[in-house]
Symmetry: D2
Amino acid sequence: MLNVSIIGASGYSGAELAKLIASHPNFNLKGCYVSQQSLDKGKLLSDLYPEHSGLLDLELLPLCNESYVQIAQSSDYVCLCTDHKVSVELAPKFLDLGVKVFDLSGGFRLASASQYEQYYGFSHNHQTLLDSAAYGLVEWNKANIAKAKLVAVAGCYPTAALNALKPLKQSGLLADSQIIINAVSGVTGAGRKAAINTQFCEVSLAPYGLFNHRHGPEITQYLDHPILFTPHLGNFSRGILETIYVRLADNVTENDVTQAYQTLADEPLIRLKGRVLPSIKSVAGTPYVDIGWQQQGQQLIVVVAIDNLLKGAAGQALQCMNIASGFNATLGLKD
Amino acid sequence: MLNVSIIGASGYSGAELAKLIASHPNFNLKGCYVSQQSLDKGKLLSDLYPEHSGLLDLELLPLCNESYVQIAQSSDYVCLCTDHKVSVELAPKFLDLGVKVFDLSGGFRLASASQYEQYYGFSHNHQTLLDSAAYGLVEWNKANIAKAKLVAVAGCYPTAALNALKPLKQSGLLADSQIIINAVSGVTGAGRKAAINTQFCEVSLAPYGLFNHRHGPEITQYLDHPILFTPHLGNFSRGILETIYVRLADNVTENDVTQAYQTLADEPLIRLKGRVLPSIKSVAGTPYVDIGWQQQGQQLIVVVAIDNLLKGAAGQALQCMNIASGFNATLGLKD
Amino acid sequence: MLNVSIIGASGYSGAELAKLIASHPNFNLKGCYVSQQSLDKGKLLSDLYPEHSGLLDLELLPLCNESYVQIAQSSDYVCLCTDHKVSVELAPKFLDLGVKVFDLSGGFRLASASQYEQYYGFSHNHQTLLDSAAYGLVEWNKANIAKAKLVAVAGCYPTAALNALKPLKQSGLLADSQIIINAVSGVTGAGRKAAINTQFCEVSLAPYGLFNHRHGPEITQYLDHPILFTPHLGNFSRGILETIYVRLADNVTENDVTQAYQTLADEPLIRLKGRVLPSIKSVAGTPYVDIGWQQQGQQLIVVVAIDNLLKGAAGQALQCMNIASGFNATLGLKD
Amino acid sequence: MLNVSIIGASGYSGAELAKLIASHPNFNLKGCYVSQQSLDKGKLLSDLYPEHSGLLDLELLPLCNESYVQIAQSSDYVCLCTDHKVSVELAPKFLDLGVKVFDLSGGFRLASASQYEQYYGFSHNHQTLLDSAAYGLVEWNKANIAKAKLVAVAGCYPTAALNALKPLKQSGLLADSQIIINAVSGVTGAGRKAAINTQFCEVSLAPYGLFNHRHGPEITQYLDHPILFTPHLGNFSRGILETIYVRLADNVTENDVTQAYQTLADEPLIRLKGRVLPSIKSVAGTPYVDIGWQQQGQQLIVVVAIDNLLKGAAGQALQCMNIASGFNATLGLKD
């Protein structure tokens, strides 16, 4: 059994990951940490998530200066389910203490520190870590994930978009023009916090973050193609649906597109649906990426859906940890 | 035109009342105030409620010491859509300045100051006002509402329960035993504030406040009968549904029950549905109280539904103001 | 008072229109008809819509051969809230009997009968009526609506899209390239019928009708510009949100765009929100079209929202009837 | 591996059971049958439930006269996820062919054929089977379930109510008076069929079946105590919440109640929450029964919640099959 500690375990991604690890045959959930200010002393993780009562009856622990050495000594892996700024601060500490780090935030996903100034609004002083971190998009980066000390688990929106688009890009089917990604995410994507805009009575389908969402440059970087990414908040808890408008290069046929997607056919968490289009319901609560597409002339519409907390966060983090451990990538996710 | 100012206009009840007043033929929405700490300077009420853009483009004003005289001088009526503690503090000030007060909180609904210690957890030092306040349950207290300087608009749960039960009580149809009121409210009932338990992803049908909800004594007091009141939070925005279990006195017939409800037949906002049972959908967004019932022997089940923000708060406040002004009670509520 | 009869009154649009007419100061709801097979004898419209109990307690009447003359003689206007095939059959009958017809279906919206073969799958034998029908998109066609015998009230999706795009087109701001319209509609848009895909447990955000939805050619025709229209079903009852991706012509500035939208500034049901983007919540239950937009270089994103049953159906039909009657276009819709 | 066939596999309970069996280490999903009239030839179960794509890619087969022998020969167990009338017809056929039957309908839950006339409205001609059937309420009837040829899996509402009340009854803590059970079920409880009242836009919290729901006599029979059972339909897909009003016998203390519930402490799917009250969210998607309670004098309120498709149907059926097979009762349900 490998020991895993989670920092930021009380959030939606953290709790989902705690559940996956606690149910995993080869991982042991060693400790669940939260920041001292958000600690409600003596609370169990299952007090916050009563649906996991019995499984997650672990006391939430405060993360303090004394914690680092103790966590590092008792854990094989540390998972950061923290804000990107916190992750950027914590990852080097744990790496220095010799423990492998799986970061679910955006703190180590972009290639260059200078991009953090622009898109995340802070100075990132760890270019070396950005260089050495493996991007945790499982289907496309297994070798690096297997050997990296720091894995930057892919963002939720990019996981959907990149799995939908990279097969086309790699097969040279894309025209040069900009791809439009119209995306809708469930409210868990906004995190578990007391905020007005995610109150029950305030949530309603609406766009946000036009032209400047942080997942835009993440997609561009790993796709190497111009995109326009527009996220929306939808009135459901879990799931992401992206409707993607693609111009195909001249003479690309329906068969070419099908062939391109066939390159993903052996990936255990990719479900290729052909002309049948996915919905939020078809993926919520599952570890899968569902991809459907329809074409008319050189216009292709790809529809891709994932559960934002599973394939979009905790599920993919678990895949990365499985890979790093030499286990089957879907162990504990899919029978 | 009568001028009306609203304190606490940014909450759900406050905004609903602002909308009703702004659309009313004889009332003028004079000012919308919020506490200084919650003020977002320069914000319009319609910035918070874009659905009312065009109608509620008034700037939210801070309530400060200088405001009282100015409000009193410029307003015929002041509506308090504030927490009960704030209402208990503000009502005497406005009454001293000679303006009529309509309080939507629980601050003046109970008969005795000592009950506030028990149920609301604070010392209420205004027994005289409790004595003189008119209970704003329109169907049962018009004369007092018409002449009172302070109207304590009835609570949302009690408005439904009392209209469902008082006809039976007044007609002497109730057995002595305790009545059970199983109630479910929409999330607007919890107010507009950043809180974890009313986050979109956290809301789920669940009971709360067993044995000690503040609306219990309010119902008991105006019904003069033992009740057990159990509220639940439901996963919808607006509406209250109460399923009420009543033991009838010996020999009470179905016809007796129908006769009892007929005493409400002329009330314009009461819809007597007979054996057809109401739902949340049948009242949400309407000013009505829908009452249905079915009987088996001496067991009666009454189902009553209202919109918690309309008949349960702002709509009934408007009725009280109409009555106080000598207008038709439903003016501006129902054509 | 003008008498109005509604055919297909039991559907969502029909009932919404019945409510508007029954509340209107100058219209009288003369009769509510349904097809004989869907008639539940003796049912009131308010039995199906208990929220309108008191207002819509009219018996639903069967539409049969004997009905036409009687309806025509007793009504100034007939509103068809029927399937497009039924509308195409009924409209000529009522027109021949001398009564003005407002059709809420797609039966008379396209310019040429041949398009019906392609997009609606049936032979349309009334090219003359297609030629003479006024397209009921209020903001853009008042003069024709005022004098037409047959008004083809605009479709829900086109009403949103055309109001969002025609100002740009008319001002010459559009690049030649295809505009992408990503649209999401509430479930009332699918009509009131027993179907599996609109069951409570089956609804989930999902695209449908790619490349061939009937509202595509309707938008193209009245915009005179290439578009790609992709509708989705969303998990909410009412409302449409369209996120529209537009390439602007070279050198078009933010100010040019603002100027273009200013041409709609005096339209009473258009709310120009500038950089503030609308949501479903901001329009559901309202008669408005909310339009917001943001620009980056020559890329413009316009977000437009309407209530599909009001501005998208019954509300706009009422506007058309107001205009045909010489009344203020928003009478009965907005105070 | 034991082979299991499911009749009525396309409904919500049937599909949930298919998923559990297909994922089970010791059961093999042999065949999924639907009635010939509801068969859409060539459809896979995962076409109806795309969330289970990959797991449930079995073709739905028509149930016809030739099927019985073939099913019986190839299956160790047959699960009936059919309407009670169909179950009453099918169960004897399969029993005669020597295969064990697990019936998820109400067809064999009541003790006497005469009750079926009264509560189900048809003549039940299999009193012998009613006598020999084991009631599939796992926590209370394991020995009979283990050896029965026909298991009548307990109803969803009774599973919750009986687990909440039998501990009190068995410990002699109940006063003689009637217990009131106010229950709310998610919409999957109404089955997967095209119906108006379960359309997305029609569902709203509302009571139904007052005084005569079929689960009333089922609870009474196995509790042996008078109850008043009032179900409601709630606006959520999965889950049942019951708020139960109990009068305790004189002098019963809080400790007595706690002791009574402790008799369930070792049951693996019962989660005793004490004063913490369950919600729909705490059980939806889980196999558990959550029970919380609060007491004031002799008034006890018990709140119990289950997932109606799991512990309330397919999950409990699987438990029964595990028990009948000598496996751990929660195998395949809980790790």
